[in-house]
């Protein structure tokens, strides 16, 4: 570990030549050894398509759950792999999420239930947009909450905000520099004949806009080169699943461990829109089980790979809305309202399901069909922004929602 860090440090600094390394770089590179506290890192994961929170964190203590979902309900915990994994006597994890149970037991993973966006829309694209802009109901917001969440500072790293994927997601857009990287190894000028030439053009350009962006780009490229040279071997014998989320999280882990100044990261997983065949013949087969299997194993691999480094890292998951409390006619669920979120990391007060449970009786449902919302998603994200990232200006991160109600997730 120490050797690799040293190697990366000299490799990265070497790129710039003696005495020319930018201030943020030496700070970032030495931060790991310096007595000053390391940067906190927030990783946000978006489950696009609206995951069925009621089958992810199963309210097995609620009778009504079983009458609303005769074909889809996950059975009460019975210690077999075809039943929910008991969390607290009332809620249980979907069996495909077994890899997450040890994290929950260690007290570093928290669940929030009946949480989501207060906006009533059941449109994927609107709801995703609202959750990423951080301003439900307001379409004119031009930037995203994760960009605004970055604490203001000078000389920041060009890779302080990274999203995995070809384009910058809405949540990451805004004033602060944010980089979209589809693959760390591809983040470069592919044609070696042109690499140095483009760099010199942009670094010398008198066009202020392109010069600035060009410098940031090539600084980031250099950092990536220092990382790309090293084949990545996850710690603790971890093997990341070969799924997109697994690979994305591995790259985020790689960035974190390289100490290049990462502060916020974004990854996504698609395919959660389970209108049909959500649950197969048994709870462990079917669309949802497959998706959760990928999801849980990727998150668990990330957690184990980072090991002690999780002390600086919080991961939070979200999805645009939940799904109908009642199953539909094709072994699936339709668009609903409130949902469940996960947060885990060294600083998370876990081992607990947060949030007020609204119940599933007909009169307790939102518009007589969906799980009622009792926690605003900005309460969860806001607490992470303030207490984990240390950005107290939460009113500018979530404009129009000046006073998020912290639930005590971060401690």
């Amino acid at each position: 570990m120490a050797t690799r860090r040293l190697f990366l440090k000299s490799a990265a600094l070497g790129m710039f030549g003696v005495g020319t390394a930018p201030a943020w770089l030496s700070r970032a590179l030495y931060a790991a050894d310096a007595p000053s506290p390391r940067k906190k890192i927030l990783v946000a994961i978006f489950q696009r398509g609206a995951v069925d929170g009621l089958n992810v964190v199963v309210p097995f203590g609620e009778k009504q759950y079983y009458s609303l979902r005769p074909n889809l309900a996950i059975p009460k915990p019975d210690r077999t792999e075809n039943s929910a994994i008991d969390l607290d006597g009332f809620f249980g994890l979907h069996p495909a999420l077994a890899p997450l149970k040890p994290i929950y037991d260690s007290g570093h993973m928290a669940v929030v239930h009946a949480v989501g966006s207060p906006d009533p829309t059941r449109s994927h694209f609107d709801a995703q947009d609202y959750m990423e802009s951080g301003t439900p109901g307001r379409k004119a917001t031009s930037d995203g909450w994760l960009n605004r969440a970055l604490p203001s500072q000078k000389d920041s790293s060009p890779v302080r905000a990274v999203s995995l994927g070809a384009t910058l997601p809405r949540a990451m857009r805004g004033q602060n520099e944010a980089v979209a990287i589809a693959n760390l190894n591809d983040f470069q000028i592919r044609d070696t004949r042109g690499a140095g030439t483009f760099e010199s053009m942009y670094e010398n350009s008198l066009d202020q806009v392109l010069n600035g962006a060009g410098r940031e780009t090539f600084e980031a490229v250099k950092l990536m080169q220092s990382i790309q040279k090293q084949p990545y071997a996850p710690d603790n014998g971890v093997q990341y699943p070969n799924s997109p989320l697994g690979q994305d999280l591995m790259q985020i882990a790689r960035l974190i461990k390289s100490n290049v100044g990462l502060e916020v990261a974004f990854a996504e997983m698609r395919g959660w829109d389970t209108h049909v065949n959500e649950v197969g013949a048994r709870p462990t087969v079917g669309q949802l089980a497959n998706l959760l299997g990928q999801f849980g194993s990727a998150l668990a691999a990330f957690y184990q790979d980072l090991g002690d480094r999780m002390a600086d890292v919080s991961v939070v998951t979200m999805s645009e809305f939940g799904r109908t409390a009642r199953e539909n006619g094709s072994r699936g669920t339709d668009h609903g309202h409130a949902n469940a979120m996960f947060a885990f990391g060294g600083g998370i007060r876990g081992g607990k399901v947060y949030g007020q449970w609204p119940g599933l009786e007909p009169e307790q449902l939102y518009e007589q069909r969906d799980l009622q919302l009792t926690t605003d998603f900005r309460d969860v994200l806001g607490e992470l922004v303030v207490r984990h990232l240390g950005n107290a200006r939460v009113a500018s991160v979530f404009p129009g929602y000046e006073q998020p109600k912290f639930r005590g997730l971060v401690g």
């Binding site: 799924s243 997983m269 197969g280 990928q294």
Partner: protein
């Protein structure tokens, strides 16, 4: 002159930079392009003196005649092709602009029609599209016997084939289904690239058939993307294409939202394109009653809360929104007409939504038409922006709203400003906007007239506007194709490049459309992607596009002039020369470097 001259005044090396630039140009020639370039540079130097002035004063600094030509080509087209500068000079700039404002007077390039011919969905009605390229929901309904099969034998055969495939897919193990879905991203990039290579050499008609057979739903975005790029690259009616892009983007719909897959083709063709130079009111009406927009912004589901459910549909209705949907009403005012600061309130949104209840679609997934359904219309009195709309107006309620909005002064200003931001500069001078607003009012929102006011202005042909815009991904890719005179016979790979640069065509989820602001398009990943695209195009590594590199010299200064139509910045040239000192210069390498340079990112 080159855009960087604007920046050097702040740089202590300004003087030497200019001297170097001048020295570089001493070797003169009879080449008219070169003379043109020299004239531009000289004019640029004169402008330096005036640069210290602040605010909008640079919009009073005129351009030279040659700069004016280059500027007009950069803004009204998707970038000049070889020979365009000379052609405009020969015709006269004023006459050329006037012609561009009247596309029907321009003979179209036969290359366009030839390339559009196989893209058959572009000529169909939405209902024909729905029959020939049925969405999965319709296929499912047909296979369950809930919907009749198409009468047309060819379409019926197609539907049966697709139903078989659907059943086969469902029979396949769910495991693998999900796996494929989840692992699709990035995993088989090599395979994908190889497929693209193979597909690109196929005959265009065969290729189109292949796509339609394999994945009929993909044929629709395929046709739209291909057509948009062929028109952008080859059309002689360039301003019309820029305007079609502008207005589609202004009235954005998202092709992957449900039925919009089958509704977007007719939307662009019938609601947008006929009106790009017409009256704003017509454009507004066309979009307001288009099934694509009604579906995209959910108005088709918006009903008066007082509606008594018809028993037959009661169960179905319960699944839908039971009442008012404000989505369209809000965006209509915020994004289509008044602008976010246009002075409307939440109450106005609700009132407008009430007026639009009953504006719906008959069977969107079957390509249904716009219908007005009086039964679900809110029949009470409404007040919109202080104007009373009496009870019992029926369909006319919403027409009245469109009248109010189209003629509102906030709309005139919002639209004029947006046009000026797109065509002049990110922060256009208020004096110009004022004149455009006046024209908008005087002509009852005549878009051609508003454009004329802008294109006649001194501000348009000013230092403040010259090279002030960063190309959008669409403009960057198409301008590179046009500048290098590439032949395009398969445009999907170009469209994929544009998506990689951050502007997937027809796939902007948000109703805001894409921003034309410089800040939107300058970020690390995008810049790298731009440079990589430049190399790939010049090296003929973009399938479907062929660049004849023998047209390029290997002297970077000459290539720069061929591609940029003005002199490259000294920094760019020095960087290229340094690189070439170390290796064998090839025309493709030099062209790739110029196309990826900072200089080429502006227009």
């Amino acid at each position: 002159m080159t855009y960087w001259v604007r920046f050097v005044a702040e740089d202590s090396s300004a003087q030497s930079a200019v001297q170097l630039l001048m020295a570089f140009r001493v070797s003169s020639s009879r080449d008219p392009m070169k003379k043109f370039v020299i004239a531009l540079t000289l004019a640029g130097v004169a402008v330096l003196a005036a640069y210290s002035e602040t605010g909008y004063s640079r919009f009073n600094q005129p351009l030279s005649k040659d700069q004016e030509i280059l500027h007009a080509l950069n803004r009204l087209t998707f970038g000049p092709r070889p020979g365009d500068v000379e052609a405009v000079r020969k015709m006269g700039l004023k006459k050329w602009i006037n012609q561009q404002l009247h596309p029907e007077r321009i003979a179209e390039n036969p290359e366009v029609a030839a390339r559009l011919r196989p893209l058959e969905s572009l000529q169909m009605s939405a209902a024909e599209i729905a029959t020939k390229y049925p969405p999965p929901q319709v296929l499912r309904a047909m296979s369950q016997g809930l919907l009749p099969l198409p009468a047309d034998p060819e379409a019926r055969q197609q539907a049966e084939l697709q139903m078989q495939r659907l059943r086969a897919r469902r029979a396949a193990k769910e495991d693998e289904d999900v796996k494929a879905k989840v692992q699709g991203k990035g995993g088989d990039r090599l395979q994908q690239a190889m497929r693209q290579q193979v597909v690109s050499v196929a005959d265009p008609v065969e290729r189109r058939k292949l796509i339609a057979d394999k994945a009929p739903q993909q044929a629709l975005p395929y046709d739209l993307n291909e057509a948009k790029l062929y028109r952008a690259v080859y059309s002689n009616r360039q301003l019309e294409e820029q305007m079609a892009d502008f207005w589609f983007n202004h009235f954005n719909v998202y092709i992957d939202k449900g039925a919009d897959r089958i509704l977007t083709s007719t939307y662009e063709r019938d609601a947008i394109r006929p009106h790009v130079f017409g009256k704003f009111r017509d454009l507004l009406e066309g979009t307001a009653e288009s099934p694509a927009m009604l579906f995209y912004l959910d108005n088709w589901q918006s009903i008066s809360p007082d509606t008594t459910p018809v028993r037959r549909f009661a169960k179905q209705k319960a699944k839908q929104a039971r009442g008012l949907n404000e989505n369209y009403a809000r965006e209509l005012m915020e994004l289509h007409t008044l602008g976010v600061d246009g002075g409307y309130t939440q109450h106005d949104i609700i009132e407008v939504a009430r007026c639009f209840t009953g504006w719906t679609i008959s069977q969107p997934n079957r390509g249904g038409e716009f219908i007005y359904n009086d039964r679900v219309h809110d029949k009470g009195e409404k007040t919109v922006l202080g104007i009373k709309i009496p009870a019992g107006g029926g369909r006319a309620d919403a027409e009245k709203v469109l009248d109010i909005l189209a003629r509102h002064s906030a709309t005139a200003r919002f639209i004029s400003t947006k046009l000026a931001k797109k065509f002049v500069a990110d922060d256009p001078p208020p004096a110009l906007i004022d004149r455009m607003v006046k024209t908008f009012h005087d002509t009852d929102g005549d878009i051609r007239a508003v454009m004329s006011t802008m294109l006649d202005s001194k501000e348009f042909f000013s230092e403040g506007a010259f090279q002030a815009k960063i190309k959008t991904p669409l403009e960057l890719v198409v301008s590179a194709v046009r500048a290098s005179d590439a032949q395009v016979d398969f445009a999907i790979p170009l469209s994929m490049q544009i998506a990689q640069l951050g502007e997937p065509l027809y796939r902007k989820i948000e109703p805001t459309g894409y921003s034309s602001a410089n800040s939107e398009w300058v970020n690390s990943a995008a810049l790298l992607a731009r440079m990589n695209f430049a190399h790939a195009l010049a090296d003929n590594r973009v399938p479907g596009s062929k660049v004849d590199v023998t047209k390029f010299a290997d002297d970077p200064a000459v290539v720069a002039r061929q591609v940029l139509f003005h002199e490259a910045s000294q920094q760019t040239l020095e960087s290229i020369k340094k690189a070439l000192a170390q290796r064998e210069p090839t025309p493709a390498l030099v062209a790739g470097l110029v196309l990826g340079s900072p200089d080429f990112q502006r227009r």
